[in-house]
């Protein structure tokens, strides 16, 4: 009896556990739907405790699922205004602005229609999110909205501020988050448009006061936590857990017939291995890009996933601080480009999500092919591995070889410290191969890790690293790609009068020169890059070609691989996913599956 008495507590616990386990497959679910689409939103991860607000930097909002834009970017390098329709069914772009026709029947999930007033409010809010600056910056860089006019109940005209010359204006407008005035309206004073007008005031005090007011409104909007999600997208958030979100189909969505899943579950992730784990157990219907080694790729494919490759418009490169000898010499950078076998490095560093850089123009290969003529492409130096050419270039620059070691022109041994970041597994693996190749060529190379990326960036800006890994060729547009090399990131400032000044220091670190001589012609890369921002895509051709040829010759960076946007789809529960042959595949894969569904993809199996 005594023994039984002692066993009572453990038995009770075991009974409770059994009961709970028995209940676990039973009721309590918010939905018994069979058509649950599960994925991960890598660019908008779920953040525990954050509000359901697209203007919050960590907000729990999911573009194309619940959060809508007027359109969704197709990632077209030569046409920045090429978008999939979102809340805008169509649009016309003029020199002063954009006129948008809203989707017929567009409604919020509370049943009220999406109106021009919602668009007007959303544009005003967008201006409070750090875009509000005075002077030339306001008119050339940000979302320089001057007015939003209701043309009719479903048409709205959005114009740039007087004097605005931003060629990306339409693109910026189309990409803004549109929020309901019934939820966000109370956060924005009715006088906001007169405050926005004040930004362009000739009186600097008035303009500065307007910036202060708008920023204060922006802070209130960012920190706002709506009680529930009111969405105009195909889904609406039902619940956000600390590690996942449940979205249910929005019965008021304007194209409901195209949306097959009745529910979407988005999982949180903190590292690539989380996504690999979800895929290995077949939990995800589609998975975003993750850097992965070949053995993981094999196991994922074995589970039944289909790989979909598209362009990603980012390059991993080795960059130089040109103010640090001997990296200011083009011959040195060119010689190193001949020593590094990019195929071999990519095979180890990014075997699945990368292809060895081939054109070395400062843009990814797919963009280079669109901007340059075939004859220009064939004239590019591919820098195929060639140690003889490397040695010849170095000898010509005054370097000598003593035994197996290269010496600098002053006779001291040349050693390289190749800097990379802890946790960036692809860069680190690549760095070991580069180091080994340089070692065997006669330049002892040490790989050094910085603890995290924030420290890396700060140390680079402070000029602490001579050679390090760096991301280049950002974004589909040539303008964005060259900004990374010869724009603000490298100390160039575009002035309102059309000139460009270069401050060699203060945050930039590559210290590229203000002038290159290419084929006997002197060019100013900073000026050309600044001009790209003021020219239409069709008028940019000459500048882009000059910059591409100059970059190929001068090698301010050695591109190692173009990242490939490798996504995965799993057709066990759904079918008709976008595939390699789908039109606009780059844009589809760049966007979340909500866009795929709006385009008619993703059907029940």
């Amino acid at each position: 009896m005594n023994r039984l008495h002692r066993l009572r507590a453990p038995l009770a616990l075991a009974a409770c556990a059994g009961l709970l386990a028995a209940c676990s497959s039973g009721g309590g679910k918010t939905s018994s739907s069979q058509l649950v689409y599960t994925s991960v939103d890598a660019t908008n991860p779920i953040t525990a405790g954050a509000p359901m607000n697209p203007f919050n930097a960590s907000g729990n909002y999911f573009p194309s699922y619940d959060t809508m834009q007027l359109g969704f970017d197709k990632q077209n390098p030569k046409d920045p205004d090429d978008f999939f329709p979102g809340l805008a069914a169509s649009w016309t772009i003029s020199s002063t602005g954009i006129t948008v026709k809203l989707q017929p029947g567009a409604k919020w999930s509370d049943g009220t229609p999406v109106t021009p007033a919602d668009i007007k409010l959303s544009m005003a809010i967008a201006l409070t999110q750090g875009s509000a600056t005075v002077g030339a910056g306001f008119l050339t860089q940000g979302l320089d909205v001057g007015s939003v006019t209701e043309v009719d109940a479903s048409t709205v005209q959005i114009d740039q501020a007087a004097g605005g010359t931003n060629l990306n204006f339409a693109r910026l407008v189309l990409g803004q988050y549109i929020v309901p005035s019934s939820v966000y309206g109370s956060l924005v004073p009715s006088s906001i448009w007169s405050t926005i007008d004040d930004l362009a005031s000739a009186d600097s005090a008035t303009a500065s006061a307007a910036v202060t007011k708008l920023n204060a409104i922006g802070k209130a909007v960012s920190a706002f936590s709506p009680a529930k999600d009111v969405s105009a997208g195909p889904f609406v958030i039902a619940r956000v857990n600390p590690g996942s979100a449940e979205l249910t189909r929005n019965p008021d969505f304007y194209a409901l017939s195209k949306i097959v899943p009745s529910e979407v579950i988005l999982r949180h992730f903190s590292g690539n291995s989380d996504i690999w784990g979800y895929m290995k157990s077949g939990e995800l219907d589609s998975a975003p890009y993750t850097s992965m080694p070949t053995n993981i790729l094999d196991s994922v494919l074995k589970t039944g996933y289909t790989r979909v490759d598209s362009a990603s418009f980012v390059d991993a490169a080795i960059a130089f601080n040109e103010s640090d000898a001997p990296y200011g010499q083009a011959a040195v950078r060119q010689a190193l480009a001949y020593v590094i076998d990019r195929q071999a490095v990519t095979k180890v560093g990014e075997p699945v999500g990368g292809t060895a850089a081939s054109d070395l123009t400062g843009m990814v290969e797919s963009a280079t092919k669109q901007w340059l003529t075939p004859s220009q492409i064939s004239s590019l130096n591919p820098y195929s591995p060639d140690q003889t050419k490397a040695a010849s270039l170095l000898t010509g620059a005054g370097f000598k070889k003593s035994g197996s070691q290269w010496l600098l022109p002053d006779g001291t041994p040349w050693k390289i410290t190749l800097q990379t970041v802890s946790g960036f597994s692809d860069w680190n693996a690549a760095a070991t191969v580069v180091s080994s190749e340089l070692d065997s060529f006669g330049i002892p190379t040490q790989v050094k890790l910085t603890s995290d990326f924030a420290t890396y960036k700060t140390d680079m800006a402070a000029g602490k690293y001579a050679v390090g890994f760096w991301l280049i060729a950002l974004g589909p547009s040539a303008s964005a790609a060259y900004q990374r090399l010869y724009g603000q990131d490298d100390g160039y400032t575009a002035n309102a009068n059309g000139t460009v000044t270069h401050a060699d220091g203060g945050g930039n670190w590559q210290h590229t020169p203000t002038s290159y001589t290419v084929n006997g012609t002197a060019i100013d890369p900073g000026l050309l890059t600044a001009q790209l921002a003021t020219l239409s895509a069709t008028a940019q051709q000459t500048q882009v070609q000059q910059l591409a040829l100059a970059t190929n010759e001068q090698m301010p960076v050695i591109p190692i691989w173009d990242y490939t946007n490798v996504n995965f789809t799993y057709d066990k529960r759904f079918t008709d996913f976008p595939g390699a042959s789908s039109p606009d595949i780059n844009g589809l894969m760049y966007n979340q599956p909500g866009v795929w569904m709006m385009q008619g993809y993703v059907k029940a199996k």
Partner: protein, 330 residues
């Protein structure tokens, strides 16, 4: 009662001074980290594949929440707000109060860490007592070996192995959340079962990590008590071995209670690694993200919470010792 209060007051005062000192130290420490919230966020967005203009816009939205005052002025403001119970606004959460973020995450650290600690304590101390008594037998050796084995495994490695085996390889246990999101939170069977199921891996990690320490310490404590005169006297008096064992256990477990209270505080600090591996959304995960984002107010708030937990655990341990060991009260 008066004695208790007399003992408590100086400890509370010392605890407050300690909290102020640690809060000040961590404030300056986190601000000394290289990098700033804007730069950290921008490059992270780029790495996630966001186009530069969108990344710039997102960074602009957190810029307004980053203080640009001189550091000493920021420190004065921080201490003043602390005195009013305000931990400030998170930068990476665009102005959401730090207390809100910590409050949302705290239960998901306290529950698994405490559960793991209790399991480890119960199993470890029982195993330690057994290993001491049976130290000459094969079972005693196996128990001691198991203690040394788990005490020697780094937290990160153990968590990775459990995650790989039980989630990735065998798909037996969930991962990366606190419950099935489709279940309605509340006091209902399916939800509670789901919470328990999702907590199994972190709880098992905490328990296995702490188990070895408890076992080995308890074993050595029991061996030490077994050699005491009063045990010899009890044996000579012919007391039943179970009664003798009760005497031994009660005396041997005294230092364990102090360690138990202290462990609660330290477990909160140790949650950073475990939660990161399991992507379990507790305080450790919040702190990890905050460091990467250079979210100074959130980092300071999380460090402060850990400090307060450790200081309070110390005070409770001291008081507990007074209560359970009458000799200390003399």
């Amino acid at each position: 009662m008066k004695t208790l209060i007399r003992r408590l007051l100086p400890k509370l005062a010392a605890g407050l001074v300690m909290i102020w000192a640690v809060a000040s130290f961590t404030f300056f420490l986190v601000h000394a980290l290289p990098g700033n919230p804007g730069d950290a966020a921008y490059e992270n967005y780029i790495l996630a594949g966001m186009p530069p203009e969108q990344a710039q816009a997102k960074v602009a939205s957190i810029y307004g929440f980053t203080s640009h005052d001189p550091l000493l002025a920021q420190y004065r403001g921080y201490i003043w707000r602390l005195l009013h119970g305000d931990l400030g606004q998170s930068i990476s959460y665009s102005g959401v109060p730090v207390t809100h973020v910590l409050r949302a995450a705290a239960p998901w650290t306290i529950f698994p860490a405490l559960a793991g600690l209790i399991i480890a304590f119960l199993v470890g101390t029982s195993g330690g007592a057994l290993a001491a008594v049976k130290r000459s037998s094969r079972w005693g050796g196996v128990l001691s070996m198991s203690g040394s084995f788990f005490a020697g495994i780094p937290a990160f490695v153990l968590a990775l192995v459990l995650a790989f085996l039980f989630h990735t390889e065998w798909n037996l246990l969930p991962y990366g959340d606190t419950s099935d999101v489709t279940l309605t939170p509340g006091f209902n069977g399916p939800y509670i079962a789901s919470v328990i199921q999702h907590a199994v891996l972190p709880v098992a990690t905490y328990a296995l990590l702490a188990y070895g320490g408890w076992l080995l310490t308890m074993k050595s404590s029991v061996i030490s008590v077994l050699g005491d005169d009063f045990i010899l006297a009890a044996e000579l008096r012919g007391l039943h071995p179970r009664t003798r064992m009760r005497y031994v256990s009660r005396n041997a477990i005294l230092p364990m209670f102090t360690m138990f209270a202290l462990s609660i505080g330290y477990l909160l600090g140790g949650s950073v690694l475990v939660e990161n591996v399991f992507d379990y959304p507790g305080l450790g995960n919040v702190l990890f993200q905050a460091i990467g984002a250079r979210d100074y107010p959130l980092m300071s708030g999380a460090f402060l919470l850990i400090t307060v937990a450790i200081v309070l655990a110390n005070i409770v341990a001291d008081l507990l010792y007074t209560v359970i060991d009458p000799r200390v009260r003399r």
